[in-house]
Symmetry: C3
Subunit: 338 residues, 3 copies
């Protein structure tokens, strides 16, 4: 006996419905990934909950998380603030808490995603390695992000609390090690067809300055991102996230690079062209690492095309060549929105 | 493409809808916890499913669990009866199976929760340590609870099955150790403005007698709970649960207490005052432990205030001082219902 | 504030609703299992999401998974294709990807389930041990299944990709071992009151030929399945799944059987009789194992009755006697659909 959820928000806005709501949406994808050696089937299905409400005085509040963002007892749990987020929003801006973006990432974002797996087939190398937010500090539990927009200017501030997640541990003297407090500040100016943004972040001794802009001209979009780091030590170069989550996609440096390697800067460029149902997208990224002895760069290129089939289905394929994978990888498939 | 779930049960009761339904609701919270040493951000978002149906003969049945209560393969899985519950309900009462309360807890409940984390910021020290139910015997799989109300009297009975969860293991001779069978019985008398209840529980050699009452007079509520245990051995004093789940919040005894420590009794008092949108709540609790050599008491106090913002949002803060944490802890934030 | 999901698909089909939808349904059960030594309570509650959409050109697409099929980071995750499935469907048939059935199992299926736990109380001994699909190759990530029906003939093809799930691992040289590619082909002829099907599957060196038919005559249903394996080595006899998932239900052979044991063939018979609200069902199954030295058979019998209470509730009980459990086990309880 299946229950079908209605799909028009218009009905919900009519009188007689309570203001607090739970919306359920979903996505999926299926296709083939060529990983450099083998072709592999890859599919997924996901469901997302979006919670919204409004207080008597007009304060908006809400939250959201996906089913796969709730693994109780891990650092992947919406029920303890390490995934998903909750927020309040009013005339003084929006304050979010949970697995939030950093101010820099909220203002600037990442390069354009290609392929039906939206970059996952190359471990999301289109994602800029921001120092904090978006996963870098989940061991500290909930992060916060504040956003405020006045006319064409948006301001962002984010922070962690500098303590491990368990708040009883302090007393018992166990499990609660102080952690590097991290914060970020960013500003963005948005005009009709372009925006520019500047961000600053600090995490322990490391800091990050980020500068980016994006323009849309007729059917073209272009985006550029430059990030300069200081004292951002890495064990090995990682991508898609800051060095604090070294468990994803690492490769070795050249022998001459030596020790004390730091990610020094990232240059990223992305471009897209949209024509009716077809979108062609691409990105280029150069990450420069410096050590006491030498330096080494990692280049990544990606190109892909989307074909919108309507009704929530998009045919998509991508090719990414990256020094991180030391290989060229492809994907081709369909992605769905429900 | 988000699906919005309708919010009026009135519509659902009209003709033409099947009787079996799945309702989706949610909650969230965000704020700051001072753990005695550090201020920490703490937030969460959760979604709950409530399943309801009715047979042709008018027997009601249903079930409920939250997304975070489904971690397959653990003792936190609605899909194997260790979280959430299912039930049937008719003229002969309601029978629930799953992660049910004990009879005593169903009749009496806990002290009043304070703070936007509803006591979690002090590890739920407002919860009485009932011998069985509500988590004490999840290793035995599904528990049962029977409730029957006739006029002003409600009767409760609960039990575990005394065997580990895997029902093939017996044959293979592995993983299936007999466990202490636990059961509880309780009765409650409810008048217009007050109730009184008496409960008895047994778990292995330990037993528990509980006595409680609550009264509501104009804007005031008061509640008192007394629990007397026999042979309720604890390794170290724990709270929020019986000694069988020793993995949460334990602290040491004074040196003189020695070995063979038993939780002997708990006295709990709670009071609340409601005025328009504001509620002020507090509790006091004294747990007395006895050993061969000596005895030791643990005192806990809590006080908090809620301010109802309407629409499902409540501003709340609390302070708890407890010998268990050996510290004073605070929380302050907003909690949401969706 | 609970949200109630509407239950009539009729409303959803009317104009004005987007084609992409998320449906939420649920099931539950509660009762007692006698495991041969002890009576144990057993209950569960589950929720399922069904995602459906249609492209502008009329291509149907969708997906489905249950909450308990999403444990991120395991081989039980709809979000990485190891549980649940997504599909596209049009005039050229239906292509599914994820935790799909093999072609043989899609055409033939299993024997009839008995009891309120639908065979779980005896580890699903009514399930035929197909070589591939339905869990046998989840370590390879998403599987595919293609189904096409023309008039009374249905054709099925399924395959795995022969590589472990992580598609970056190839490049890094870790975690990605080549695995046995598995595939299956099947055909089914369906008349009004009966069907017959033939399947072939190969998994590494092992292969499987399956032959089955089912007939419905008035209130009677009968089904027969014969599966012949070659080189299907097993460490110990397992049931409910092929030998690749040796973690469920294994027992020892007679001493004389020796080593190099292969599952040689399975004969299964099932029958059911439906009369108004009552259904009586039963099955018999014989699995023959051969070794270098000898052979040994495992017999399993099951019988059960369902009584439909209406509204989604069914009273059910079953008895299974199987050489695998070396015991007779029973269950009795209620199962629910929401």
């Amino acid at each position: 006996m299946k229950k079908v959820l209605f799909a028009t928000s218009a009905l919900v806005l009519s009188a007689g419905f309570a203001s607090a709501e739970v919306a359920v949406s979903g996505d999926g994808r299926m296709g083939v990934i060529y990983d450099g050696n083998d072709a592999q089937f890859s599919s997924r299905a996901r469901v997302k909950f979006t919670l919204t409400g409004e207080s008597d005085a007009g304060l908006s509040f809400g939250g959201s998380f996906r089913v796969d963002q709730e693994n109780f007892g891990t650092t992947r749990a919406a029920s303890n603030g390490t995934r998903g987020a909750v927020w309040v929003s009013g005339t003084y801006g929006k304050l979010s808490m949970g697995d939030t973006l950093s101010a820099s990432e909220a203002a600037i974002g990442d390069l354009y995603e290609v392929g039906y797996t939206e970059g996952s087939f190359a471990d999301d190398v289109e994602e800029i390695s921001y120092l904090t937010g978006d996963g870098a500090d989940r061991d500290q539990g909930s992060n916060i992000l504040y956003e405020y927009t006045i006319n064409q200017i948006s301001l962002y501030a984010s922070a962690t609390d500098g303590s491990s997640n368990s708040w009883y541990a302090d007393t018992y003297g166990a499990n609660n090690t102080d952690d590097d407090n991290a914060y970020a500040l960013a500003a963005k100016y948005s005009a009709d067809s372009w925006w520019a943004a500047l961000g600053y972040a600090k995490r322990g001794d490391a800091d990050e300055i980020s500068l980016a802009g994006e323009g849309k001209f007729n059917n073209f979009s272009v985006k550029g991102v430059y990030v300069k780091y200081s004292d951002n030590y890495v064990v090995e170069p990682v991508f898609g996230q800051s060095h604090t989550s070294g468990d994803e996609g690492v490769v070795g440096f050249d022998a001459g690079v030596g020790t004390n390697v730091k990610l020094d800067n990232t240059i990223g460029l992305a471009a897209a062209y949209q024509m009716d149902a077809i979108a062609v997208k691409g990105f280029y990224r150069k990450d420069k690492y410096k050590s006491d002895a030498d330096s080494q760069s990692f280049d990544s290129f990606g190109i892909g095309a989307d074909y919108d089939l309507g009704g929530g289905a998009v045919l998509a394929g991508g090719i990414i060549d990256t020094d991180y994978l030391n290989d060229t990888v492809l994907d081709m498939g369909i992605k769905f929105k429900f």
